[in-house]
């Protein structure tokens, strides 16, 4: 089986890469000799963990691969709908980046409305009504019931000339 098509090996390689970066960063942790003087420092556990992880990753990578069809990446991802998933991930990132600018209400309304559209909901009015309803409901619950302050956003302040 092709190395790059094996789930276990690709996954272990990703963790191996993370462990190597982690180990490298572990050597940058400052050590103050007054604290525990070498018995147990802030580096001890990170170095032990990354070393152990590297060993286990190598075992996993160099062991004979299990040959079941379910172990190949190409079979595992057959039929995946990448685009909506990627768009939703992008939408969430945009939501987190624009939350302060748009404020809770507008950002949430847009997030839900666009989210419904990404998942191929074609009834625009229904989507808008549900987005507005959920946003309003959450706003009432959070601000009126739990007394949580939700920023109205920089955009509204700009429009209001504030």
């Amino acid at each position: 089986m092709n190395f790059i098509n094996n789930k276990d090996r690709v996954g272990s390689s990703l963790i191996l890469l993370a462990a190597l970066i982690y180990l490298n960063a572990a050597f940058d942790i400052p050590i103050y000799q007054v604290m525990g003087a070498g018995v147990f420092t802030a580096r001890t556990l990170p170095i032990a963990l990354s070393s152990l992880t590297i060993v286990v990753c190598l075992i996993q990578i160099f062991l004979p691969a299990r040959g079941g069809a379910d172990e190949t990446i190409s079979d595992a991802i057959a039929g995946f709908q990448w685009l909506p998933c990627l768009f939703l991930t992008g939408l969430m990132l945009t939501y987190s980046l624009t939350f302060k600018f748009f404020g809770f209400s507008l950002a949430t309304f847009l997030f839900l409305f666009i989210g419904f559209s990404i998942l191929k909901e074609k009834r625009v009015l229904l989507s808008a009504a549900i987005s507005a309803g959920v946003t309003l409901f959450m706003w009432v619950v959070l601000t009126q019931m739990f007394d949580i302050f939700l920023d109205s956003g920089n955009l509204l302040r700009l429009l209001a000339g504030g």
């Binding site: 992880t53 691969a65 998933c85």
Partner: protein
């Protein structure tokens, strides 16, 4: 002990707590019904709401959600053959055939009665064993705790299934590594790369929401399973569930099954990492082996025994999984790991001292578990025909709402949009690991145990002056370490031997 029980009773029976329990059961049932969203996601979604509550109320709500989600998972397994949780897979074997032959009501009622019986017997065992174990564990020292935490982590990896052991070990290690981000106990910054948002480490809530709620919702979009499509169609196909009554003969038939499965389920649940799924399959297998030749033929075709056994066992196991959490402060499953994180965020440290320092919290949790079972039986069961209609809510509306609730849940705790950004990135990485079939529960468990493990290891090493003698100096530590080695080595060796066999086969071909 009696004082503690009375304190717990008075806390659990406060009107607000009863209301929270009801809301929790109802919300949990709904979330648990949705294929892909299990008790872990359901509880994770509740954590931000409970931050303002006192610890008892927060835990009561979460206990209600837990039981509701387990019950909800069984409901979708019976109605549309789409187990909402892995612990309900065995329920679908006989529950769905019953529903297909027009006995959905009876199957749901039997599932509810079995869950109630399993939960009740489990709660009685919990009541008996937890105080004794808590007293024993009061004598534990740092070395014992460190050994126990290592055991907890290895046990969850050992039970992670065929071909998953090494991957589970890696995920647990990754979780432990993530736990070291932020300020260490001596005040030194580690892996923060000068980013102020990382000084306090990665938030437990952020990680659990990202790895479970966000990743699960994205997976449903990425690969719409036949079960989730069935969920979309299911709400309209069960207008009439049929009678919910069981005859005397039927009750007589399942009573011994329920008794056996409760005991088995509870003790399997106590084992760290085993949990409801293994308990339900073991109980199903046990009942099939005990059945007569004639009864055996009924299994898989709508057998009452086949439905009662896993349903009883998974509820008893859910109760049993609280034993290591409440007595040792060590979670045995992803669900109890989330509860541990929630308790820590309330400033309550679970473990043997919980029984002494916070008797109201300790006993109200145990009592509310039992009350949760009663509420599921007397309130949720009659509501099932209506709740099942919620399964018809189209997925294109539900998924963005779940994603929004996850995001806003994390934001409401920190009011920091950087957390949202990090959460989405971690969620996307979690999806990659899910696609590669790497289990995420060990990651969460490693992350939660990481801090405590380091603290106990540090203390033990300082006491023993840097020597590893502490691992075998005390009999209790040595015993736990030996059990740990056995737990991890047996499945690893068998996994390696299997692979070598495959490798030899490959080369011979």
């Amino acid at each position: 002990m009696l004082d503690g029980i009375l304190q717990g009773l008075s806390t659990a029976f406060l009107p607000i707590n009863l209301l929270l329990l009801f809301v929790g059961c109802f919300a949990g049932t709904f979330i648990g019904m949705l294929p892909g969203l299990g008790p872990v996601s359901a509880i994770a979604l509740m954590i931000p709401i409970t931050y303002g509550f006192d610890p008892s109320s927060g835990l009561i709500l979460m206990a209600g959600v837990y039981y509701g989600a387990v019950f909800g998972g069984s409901t979708s397994a019976i109605l549309i053959n789409a187990p909402g949780v892995s612990g309900a897979v065995a329920t679908a074997f006989d529950g769905y055939p019953m529903a297909q032959r027009g006995e959905a009501g009876k199957a749901l009622a039997l599932a509810a009665y079995s869950s109630f019986a399993g939960g009740t017997i489990g709660a009685v065992f919990l009541l008996l064993f937890v105080p004794i174990l808590a007293k024993v564990s009061l004598s534990f020292q740092s070395a014992d705790y460190f050994a126990l935490m290592v055991f907890g982590l290895t046990a969850i990896t050992a039970f992670s299934g065929k071909g998953q052991v090494v991957k589970a070990v890696l995920m647990a290690l990754l979780g432990l590594m993530l736990a070291t981000v932020g300020e260490d106990p001596s005040g030194i910054q580690r892996f923060t790369f000068g980013i102020p948002d990382l000084y306090d480490g990665i938030s437990f809530l952020l990680l659990s929401m990202a790895t479970f709620a966000i990743a699960e919702a994205l997976m449903v979009v990425l690969k719409p399973s036949p079960s989730s499509q069935a969920a979309n169609a299911g709400g309209t196909s069960f207008q009439d569930l049929g009678s919910m009554k069981l005859s005397k003969e039927e009750i007589k038939e399942v009573a011994p099954v329920v008794a056996r499965s409760s005991v088995l389920g509870f003790f399997v649940g106590v084992l760290p990492g085993a949990g409801a799924t293994i308990a339900s399959f073991l109980a199903y297998g046990m009942e099939r082996n005990l059945a007569s030749a004639k009864q055996k033929l009924q299994f898989g075709k709508g057998s009452l025994r086949g439905l009662a056994a896993p349903e009883t066992a998974n509820n008893a196991a859910s109760t049993g999984s609280f034993v290591p959490l409440l007595t040792l402060g060590i979670p045995g499953s992803a669900t109890t790991a989330i509860m541990l994180g929630a308790l820590l965020s309330y400033g309550v440290q679970p473990g043997p001292r919980l029984y002494i320092d916070h008797p109201a919290v300790f006993w109200s949790v145990i009592i509310s578990m039992y009350l949760g079972n009663i509420i599921l039986l007397i309130l949720n069961l009659p509501l099932i025909p209506y709740i099942s209609k919620l399964l018809a809510v189209p997925r294109q509306f539900l998924t963005p709402i779940i994603l929004f609730l996850s995001l806003i849940g994390v934001y409401l705790v920190s009011f920091n949009t950087v957390d949202l950004f990090m959460m989405v990135i971690i969620g996307a990485i979690a999806v990659v690991f899910r696609v590669l079939n790497f289990p995420l529960a060990p990651l969460l468990l490693g992350f939660i145990l990481g801090g405590m493990m380091e603290e106990n290891l540090r203390r033990a090493l300082l006491i023993s002056d840097g020597s590893l003698d502490f691992l075998w100096q005390r009999p209790i530590t040595a015993t736990i370490i030996l059990i740990t080695f056995a737990t991890v080595l047996v499945p690893v060796i068998s996994s390696i031997r299997n692979r070598k066999g495959i490798g030899a086969l490959d080369t011979s071909i």
